[in-house]
Symmetry: C2
Subunit: 261 residues, 2 copies
């Protein structure tokens, strides 16, 4: 049982819960809580190790058995020590240190999401969760967007990280991939045609920009067209995660229902 | 200039930024930041007083001029003192103490939103902001839902509080209002018909439940039908604010576009 806050595994977990720089240098991240660790195991994700404390629930204990059967190193830590590094208010007594493994981009693309300058971790995680639910094939993150493996993003993502290919890419690479796959690139914007007036059934890339600064110059120059969400009630804008969700599920609707324009 | 943390106005603002009980007892709440105070003034909202600090921007100073022209009491506080009670990380140097005035429920209802057991203040505020943008006529909050006038809800609401009638109502009263207005009551649920298969053009009430516990027994017994969001990508559920947004904007789409079922 780890009781020293200088233990190397504890120190690694703590630094990965901190700055993006550390996560990139180590090419690793942390998933906290029973549900997220279950999802990682179910997805066959590469584990480095798991830390657990004595306050683990029965479901958590069953998970630890499964992890050990799969050859994952599980180490006990005192609850106080685990709580001291935990990002959550009350630690569920389990966290996993995982590789930042990246699932490949599918060969044939029909819908991908580009998140441009999304800085709020809760919004970023919610967008990943929504995209996973909508069956989007991949997420492209330009360098200006927040780190998708930050603890708050992972928590809000609710397992999306283990189900979606998430790629940090330069704008030039994003352009090349979209051109090769012949995707129509649509930018979510306050101006533009209403989303229900645009046929979203052919292969497309949707760009959703951050709230503070809107879309970047690169996003504007990449986009073929703009798509907007009319707001009959007025107001300046919608939350970025909300706008993304409305557009992603319009893609689902048009492709699933017997859509007639 | 207020320099004592025992000043009565400062103490009132601090207690209103705290517990819901204090806000209810005083029938007041706090809006922080230049944009929110601008929105309150534009809406003609009843102000009690405004506190400002020296770090106010030019836009903030112009706002103070407007407030004073409208007869609002504006008092200076030291920046340190205002920061010490502020809910935001960096105070913009202005906060308003406002009445919890309630706009009346419109006589003729065509779309209202019932938020059932929404506990997360960010989600609640985002739902209010989205509903205001969608032009929903009123929000009904059963007693189990979080306080809509909590500082985090007000901030995430981005001015929705000044544009939407928000009413805390017992379920029995909600039932009476819906029956009188002849509303079809739809419960957002994992089971149910896909949202695009339901005609949302006739007068309706939409119930969105909290993520943790789903819909309450009262919500289930009130609802005429269930409406669901199919998730081709799988996953357990969507964030409550995201699910609400998709359904509210489907109402907008069906009522605005030349909808054909």
């Amino acid at each position: 049982m780890i009781t020293s806050n200088q233990n190397p595994r504890l120190k690694l977990a703590r630094s990965l819960l901190g700055r993006a720089k550390e996560r990139r240098a180590e090419n690793a991240f942390v998933a906290e809580g029973v549900r997220l660790v279950e999802e990682a195991l179910r997805a066959g994700w590469p584990f480095r190790f798991v830390l657990t404390a004595e306050n683990l629930s029965d479901r958590g204990k069953a998970l630890v058995d499964h992890l050990q059967k799969h050859g994952v190193a599980v180490e006990q830590v005192s609850s106080d020590l685990l709580n001291s590094i935990s990002e959550t208010e009350t630690s569920q007594g389990i966290l996993a240190v995982l590789d930042q493994s990246t699932q490949p981009i599918p060969d044939t693309l029909s819908c991908i999401l580009i998140l441009d300058q999304i800085r709020d971790p809760g919004n970023l995680g919610t967008l990943l969760r929504t995209a996973a639910g909508a069956g989007i094939q991949a997420i492209f993150l330009p360098p200006e967007t927040a780190d998708a493996f930050a603890p708050k993003v992972v928590r809000a993502g609710m397992g999306a990280h283990f189900r979606l290919p998430i790629h940090v890419l330069a704008w030039e690479t994003i352009r090349e991939i979209c051109e090769r796959a012949n995707l129509t690139i649509l930018l979510a914007d306050m101006e533009g045609r209403s989303y229900w007036e645009i046929d979203l059934r052919s292969p497309l890339a949707l760009i959703v920009g951050g709230e503070a600064d809107g879309a970047s110059q690169q996003a504007r120059s990449l986009a073929h067209d703009r798509i907007s969400i009319p707001m009959p009630g007025g107001g300046e804008s919608l939350n970025a995660a909300v706008a993304g969700a409305i557009l992603l599920f319009e893609v689902v609707r048009q492709r699933t229902s017997s859509f007639q324009k």
